[in-house]
């Protein structure tokens, strides 16, 4: 690119005002990388849980006086469930499995087969959920007094909502970091305009277009921005890798999908050209706007 190889007319090497720009940019990009990784991690996590849990429903039927009552009740409930819109599959858990489930609470008594056990029906529902959950519960209660519908989605949706707002906050932080970066570049560029005022005036008087002068500031800013972004991304990558290793060792495995997806890494690396472009564009616009006010 001829633009990059061209020696500049402005004495940027002697310009202290931009000395800290790469470091500030590095810090911003570091923050942005971590936030972006966070957004991806949260989003992946929310997606996994959303899919894994919100698509099931458990119906619990109280134990009847005898087996025949149980069978009748189960049949009635299943019939209602199968006729309900949004239900995909209905499966009555065999008593042995129910006993397993209750063992922690009932202890050996559950094994003995002496206690009347409730019946549990696993219901798979489709992605959009059941449109009339309240009606379904109502119907089941009428058919089987004491029937209970346990909607995982209900408490899950609270958890998911929390995840989604965490995601929104992370996106907001990401955008704020972007705004702060733009602000820093504007500030540095303005300072540079002040430092080089005399040279700019001579260039103007010689017939240089604002574009010619702005291009030099923009390329300079882009180079500083790229340098900073590279540092920031490398630092962030080290932190993310270290964090991943730590999570694995400590066995925080309860949080599925904490290790970053390929997409997240690509997004973080894309911050490099994005920062370069942002620095180039911001400096260019800043210079053009300032020079438009000069004679």
């Amino acid at each position: 690119m001829a633009l990059l190889s061209r020696r500049t007319d402005l004495p940027f090497e002697r310009d202290d005002s931009s000395r800290y720009l790469p470091w500030l940019t590095a810090f911003m990009v570091f923050l942005a990388s971590l936030t972006l990784a966070g957004v991806f991690a949260i989003s992946d996590l929310a997606g996994t849980w959303d899919k894994g849990l919100s698509e099931t429903l458990t119906v619990q039927l109280p134990a009847g006086e005898d087996e025949r009552t149980d069978e009748r009740r189960a049949a009635a409930a299943i019939k209602i469930l199968e006729a309900t819109e949004g239900v995909e599959e209905v499966a009555l858990l065999p008593p042995r499995q129910v006993r397993e489930l209750l063992k922690p609470w009932l202890g050996a008594a559950a094994d003995a087969g002496q206690l009347p056990l409730p019946q549990i029906i696993d219901v798979e529902i489709d992605r959009d959920g059941i449109p009339a959950l309240a009606t379904l519960t109502e119907q089941l209660r009428r058919a089987v007094p004491g029937a209970a519908v346990d909607d995982h989605g209900a408490w899950m949706s609270g958890f998911l909502r929390a995840l989604r707002s965490a995601e929104a906050i992370a996106v907001l932080i990401f955008l704020l970091v972007g705004v702060a970066t733009v602000g820093t570049i504007v500030f540095t560029t303005r300072a540079g305009l002040g430092v080089h005022r005399e040279v700019i005036e001579v260039m103007h008087l010689i017939g240089a277009h604002d574009r010619y002068i702005a291009a030099q500031f923009a390329v300079r800013s882009m180079m500083l921005g790229l340098r900073g972004a590279a540092m920031g991304i490398i630092a962030a990558a080290m932190v993310l890798i270290a964090f991943g290793v730590l999570v694995e060792f400590q066995g925080f495995g309860v949080l599925p999908g904490i290790d970053l997806s390929l997409g997240a890494w690509i997004a973080v690396v894309l911050l490099l050209p994005a920062t370069g472009l942002l620095a180039w564009l911001t400096a260019r616009i800043t210079v053009l706007r300032s020079l438009a006010r000069m004679v």
């Binding site: 007319d9 005399e198 260039m203 008087l205 010689i206 017939g207 277009h209 438009a292």
Partner: protein, 240 residues
């Protein structure tokens, strides 16, 4: 276009100060050559600034190349300024650039290719006697050498209007005469020239008309011959 510069009842003041130029009305025709005189502080540099578009008049109207500068849009300035070569009183060389790069600047901003630029700049710097100093930084050059770099930068793009503010302030009479010769060569090629100077012997060595500033007002003294004729009477000195 029958006039390069046209002033009509132009006044100029700096900030809230007094008018340093009052009711200036004159025209400069293509190919004319004027000296501009006046005591220190009379307003010579101020008048130059109006002509090279560094200042706008506080009243009256200024036209350059047939265009009223009050009607210029921001984007029109570079085009007009490229037709004007300026030797600033304080040179205003870019300190971080070599003599070569300083002289190359007007060609670079107008987008000429480096290969051509090199040819032109080397030729001109050799012509003004600075072939040994092309890679020198301005601060390492003598006053007279810097002045010649400034002059080379002003003329490299073959301006239609050349404005030189005290271009012989830092050189002895012998070099001053050579520089005058350079300006006259350019004038013969069609450039309109205005030279602000205190240098009496420079003025008296030729018969170009004199614009004189006094008390903020301008008078023009025509001396007998046409500028074109005076050039022929000059002694031919070698290259500068």
């Amino acid at each position: 276009m029958d006039e390069i510069v046209r002033f009509q009842t132009v006044g100029l003041r700096y900030g809230m100060g007094p008018e340093v130029l009052q009711d200036l009305s004159f025209t400069l025709t293509p190919g004319s050559f004027h000296f501009l005189t006046g005591e220190s502080g009379a307003g010579k540099s101020s008048l130059m600034r109006l002509m090279y578009l560094a200042k706008k008049p506080t009243r009256g109207s200024v036209s350059l190349f047939g265009r009223d500068i009050a009607s210029l849009r921001h984007d029109d300035y570079p085009t007009l300024r490229r037709r004007i070569g300026v030797v600033f009183q304080e040179f205003r060389l870019l300190p971080h650039q070599t003599a070569f790069d300083n002289v190359a600047l007007p060609l670079r901003v107008s987008g000429m290719r480096e290969k051509e630029i090199k040819k032109h700049v080397e030729e001109l710097l050799t012509w003004v006697g600075l072939e040994e100093n092309m890679a020198a930084w301005p601060e390492t050059l003598s006053g007279g050498q810097q002045q010649r770099v400034a002059i080379a930068r002003a003329v490299i793009a073959q301006p239609k209007l050349l404005l030189a503010d005290e271009p012989t302030g830092n050189v002895d009479d012998r070099i001053a005469a050579r520089l005058l010769h350079l300006f006259e060569e350019l004038n013969r090629l069609g450039t309109t020239v205005v030279i602000a100077t205190h240098n009496k012997s420079l003025i008296s060595s030729s018969l170009h008309p004199i614009m004189h500033l006094e008390g903020g007002r301008l008078s023009i003294e025509d001396r007998e011959s046409e500028p074109a004729a005076t050039v022929e009477t000059l002694p031919r000195s070698g290259r500068l």
